[in-house]
């Protein structure tokens, strides 16, 4: 049975001294990283869902001509339209006509009829296909390559940049999680080896009286599991209090861009599973290390 008494000295070896602290620290970092990933994922979807499925493309007027060369402008508008209509994510792209422009400008310009006379930008109303995950930044680049005077509605591009940054940070956090796992494995290997050296006599005796490698390795694994769980719980408690603190601060900053730190049950489950995952890594690593060391004995 796995939960048996141990034959090894348990008081003050390096496993007992270092493992809980290391695991606590790793679980703390991992929990924050994981929480960060989840908050960012949540935030980007909120931001993007908040955007309408329409966008506006502006074609700037010729600066000095005062609308003197409408033909050139028209051709730019036409090529921008053609490009937009070729895109699979675009459901509809139409030029905002002069009447609509007049209506739009009325509040500022009053009853002004000669809209054509003004050096106004031409607007293209673009409607995106339902559920299309359009890359506004990419689209803007595509457009300006063809029509240098075209600009895409700023708000969306800016949010898109933010979302990209968020994704990058999220990716970074995932890398941090992987690195934490790797560091945990490395440290557990070294502490286990040190502990093996300390318990060398006991291990040799067990070996010589006919213990299978697994009998010895399981004793180490059991200890590693208990120690790692202890450390993991401490790390988790610290991380959760940090998150609660952050959530409190975030709630005080009233901005739509500061995401809510409120986790759903699934996210809480992921956070609670984290110490178990780290403990499992520590346990299996310790066991593997001992098995490999014992395999060198006759």
């Amino acid at each position: 049975m796995f939960w048996r008494r141990t034959d090894l000295p348990v008081d003050s070896d390096s496993l007992g001294r270092f493992l809980p602290g290391i695991v606590a620290f790793m679980v703390y970092l991992a929990t924050l990283a994981l929480a960060g990933v989840m908050i960012l994922m949540e935030a980007t979807t909120t931001w993007q869902a908040g955007l309408s499925s329409t966008m506006t493309v502006q074609i700037a007027p010729e600066a000095d001509t005062g609308g003197g060369l409408p033909a050139a402008e028209d051709s730019r508008v036409q090529s921008a339209l053609a490009l937009l209509r070729r895109l699979p994510d675009v459901a509809r792209a139409d030029v905002v006509n002069d009447e609509a422009m007049t209506t739009l400008l009325e509040p500022w310009l009053g009853e002004f009829t000669a809209v054509e006379e003004l050096p106004l930008p031409r607007l293209i109303d673009v409607e995106l296909r339902n559920g299309a995950e359009i890359d506004a930044l990419g689209l803007a680049e595509l457009l300006t390559a063809e029509v240098p005077e075209a600009t895409v509605d700023d708000h969306r591009v800016w949010l898109d940049r933010l979302a990209r940054l968020a994704r990058a940070v999220g990716g970074l956090a995932v890398i941090v999680l992987v690195v934490i796992g790797a560091i945990t494995v490395t440290i557990v290997i070294f502490t286990t080896r040190t502990t093996l050296a300390i318990h060398r006599n006991a291990i040799e005796v067990l070996h010589l009286i006919g213990a299978h490698d697994a009998y010895v390795a399981d004793q180490f694994a059991r200890r590693a599991l208990v120690l790692a769980l202890k450390g993991g719980l401490v790390g988790l408690a610290l991380a959760v209090s940090s998150l609660v603190g952050l959530a409190y601060l975030a709630a005080r900053i009233e901005s739509e861009l500061v995401p809510d730190i409120a986790f759903g049950p699934l996210q809480w489950a992921a956070i609670l599973v984290l110490p178990l995952v780290v403990a499992a890594i520590a346990t299996l690593t310790a066991r593997g290390t001992v098995m490999r060391a014992l395999a060198k004995m006759l």
Partner: protein, 265 residues
């Protein structure tokens, strides 16, 4: 397991041993221990007694030659089968090798636990044996609180608790007075009568003389002929024969030994 009662418990053929790149500390060792035999292993300090025993309890691989235990060639036995062989061997280490963080009881119980025996059975056996070796009052003592002689008895108890088929003891009576030494030797003799094979390395001439079992004599890593005054010329020949002509049955090998045992108190 294919094990025929007439097979030797231990068989060495031209075994040599060197530690690392050092010189051979054992050379051309050829002998065998028949079932239920009792031998003393003699020789001056540094002759290689402990090294020979280490090869037998599978702590070391020989540098050359063949070793078989219980009829199995060690070199061709898969590593996974070795723990089972080790459990059939009880070892009293020269330096005891007890676990200081455990109590007397737990030290003696260790081989049983390793073998997966139930705790309820372990309890009774261990207490009985500890009473026998005079440690009834120290069952729950921590090892470092015991005297050298007491620790030695714990080591012996641990070696015999599983009723192994082969007992290898390295100076098992070095730290106890002669009375206790004889008592422990009688324990070994009782086990021998029950069929256990024994090989005991010792410097204690008195005991060797008194018990009169055949000897293997090591000198500088090689076996030499016994020339002690105790052994009759007949026994001397027999012991030599054991080493040189391995394939003889137990009764044929030690007739003089058993006669001798009755004659010498």
């Amino acid at each position: 397991m294919t094990f025929d009662a007439n097979d030797s418990i231990v068989r060495f053929e031209n075994v040599g041993l060197r530690y690392g790149l050092g010189p051979e500390v054992l050379q051309d060792i050829t002998f065998e221990l028949p079932p239920a035999s009792f031998h003393f292993l003699l020789g001056p300090s540094g002759a290689g007694k402990s090294s020979l025993l280490r090869l037998m309890y599978l702590a070391l691989k020989p540098s050359r030659g063949l070793i078989s235990l219980f009829g199995r060639d060690i070199a061709t036995t898969p590593r996974d089968d070795l723990p089972a062989l080790r459990r059939r061997i009880g070892v009293v280490f020269q330096e005891f090798r007890l676990l200081n963080h455990l109590t007397t009881f737990d030290n003696v119980a260790l081989p049983l636990r390793v073998a997966g025996i139930r705790e309820s059975e372990i309890e009774k056996h261990v207490r009985e044996l500890l009473a026998w070796v005079g440690l009834k009052d120290h069952v729950n003592a921590r090892l470092p609180t015991l005297s050298g002689g007491q620790q030695q008895r714990v080591a012996i108890a641990r070696a015999v608790i599983t009723r192994p088929q082969l007992i290898l003891a390295d100076e098992p009576t070095g730290n106890v007075d002669d009375r206790m030494a004889m008592r422990l030797m009688h324990l070994f003799e009782e086990l021998n009568k029950l069929g256990t094979t024994l090989l005991i390395a010792t410097h204690n001439e008195t005991i060797v003389r008194r018990l009169g079992h055949p000897r293997l004599h090591l000198e500088d890593g090689r076996f030499v002929d016994v020339d002690s005054d105790v052994s009759s010329s007949e026994e001397k020949t027999e012991t030599t024969a054991t080493r040189k002509a391995p394939k003889r049955s137990r009764s044929a090998r030690f007739p003089a030994g058993s006669a001798h045992r009755q004659g010498t108190p």
